[in-house]
Amino acid sequence: MTEPNSTLSHLDLETSEKPFLDANELVINMGPQHPATHGVLRVILRLDGEKVLGLECVIGYLHRGVEKIGEHRTYTMFNPYVDRMDYVAAVSNGLGYCETVEKLLNVEAPPRAQHVRVILTELNRIASHQLWLGTHALDIGAITPLFYTFRDREEILKIYEKYCGARLTTHAFRIGGLQYETYSGFESDVKNFLKFFRPKIDEYEELLTTNRIWVDRTKNVGVISGKDCIALGVTGPVLRASGVKWDLRKAQPYANYKNFDFDIPIGENGDTYDRYLVRMAEMRQSVRIIEQAVAAIPEGPIMAKVPKVIKPAVGEVYHSIEAPKGELGYFIVSDGSTQPYRVRVRPPSFVNLQALDKMCRGQLVADVIAVIGTLDIVLGEVDR
């Protein structure tokens, strides 16, 4: 590999007058193969005993060049690729991409499609938060929640499987509407899931919210202020847990979120515990949204009038949605041909991960694990 210390420059090792191996300072490497980094993330930690003095993330191990691939595929062909970025929230990725191309084409999906899109996307938000909760708790040492959340997440994946045949990389939407008409029994499946799932959130909370070990491991850990979040571009539940009431579903409503009644849960302290509470509350809000949506799915077509060959006029558009992890944006430049001239993905995980250094300084090594978990990163999206 390249010189091992080439990535350490900002940790002041080379410029420091102190000897490289100061008795009090230790540089250790964590990852890229590490069970608690949620993928192939390498973190170089500078420690004083157990205390973190600074850290640097080394990323890119999962880089597949999604943006380059986008320039070499037609608009329709690129659609399944976006599912593979944040693979635990594939439906959200697809929604963002389809809406952006629809903006370029100046078409809007019909009401029925919009409704089903909201249902599937909110189910996906719940699934993503469940996966986060299970793995985050596992990292901190609570094994049980993982079994609970995966058991319940399965029910969501079953709905996806019945709808489109896939469980994770769903490719559920098409540019201009939906890939498939809903199967018969879709509505009752979703309603049954809501009935089943509502008490399950209480069950998760019973396991953790007042659990002394959980509270000790998360309270005042990885604190970040709302101001710092904004300066660093951090969005999603992390921003909201720091007290900033901002959610794109409310601020700049897309799909038909403006027709649904829901609250934006916020926290106060911006610590790991508040971020946990915010995500738990978000699951409840998602249930509320799905409940309203599934009760009133309008009849009608599932596809807008979209030409067989998609050729948007020359122009550029930036559009973003509130993915489970934060603001997921797409910037697409069209040169009037069948392939995008440039596709840029603004990944929430990538930008949020930047705050890791700030959040971990002064904390203990064990807290780094807690903070990586609470940021809820997916390396497939960080590296694209």
Partner: protein, 158 residues
């Protein structure tokens, strides 16, 4: 806001709208100052994204663009500056600390350097990699075969 900026910078700013979205094409020479004004006076306190696009047929080959958002106004704006191949752009890390990784990614993918960036190096590709893959003259199957052979010990990564 646009009128005010226009009176300040005159023909250096070209305000445009497409699909209901506002953006402006500005002179490269305005870059740190205009972003500073947008941040401090117009409350665009959140730098959403920094990216670029390559147009090899143009004399000024690259578009560098900043996507900004203001919480106070609930408004988004894009600032685009066109630059020559080999030109650098002033860094905005001192304006928005979050610009750090975004600028590194632009450098990694396009080879556009940001002056005054605290740590201007690659972010997604390995440090020793040759070439910047999102340039239009970089083929989709192209790779730094020397790097691959030395570091991975295989003939080709394809």
């Amino acid at each position: 806001m646009i009128a005010k900026l226009k009176s300040l910078y005159g023909s250096g700013i070209q305000p445009l709208t497409y699909a209901g979205q506002n953006y402006m094409v500005v002179d490269r020479s305005l870059i740190p100052e205009l972003l500073q004004v947008l941040r401090n006076e117009e409350e665009f306190d959140y730098c959403v994204d920094i990216t670029a696009a390559h147009y090899p047929a143009r004399e000024k080959q690259f578009d560098v663009l900043w996507v900004l958002y203001s919480f106070a106004r609930n408004e988004r704006i894009r600032v685009t500056a066109q630059i020559l191949d080999g030109d650098s752009v002033p860094s905005s890390v001192s304006i928005w600390p979050g610009a750090n990784w975004l600028e590194r990614e632009v450098y990694d993918m396009f080879g556009i350097k940001f002056d005054g960036h605290p740590d201007m190096k690659r972010i997604l590709l390995p440090d020793g990699w040759k070439g910047h893959p999102l340039r239009k003259d970089y083929g989709i199957l192209q790779q730094d075969s020397e790097w691959v052979q030395i570091n991975l010990g295989i003939e080709s990564g394809q």
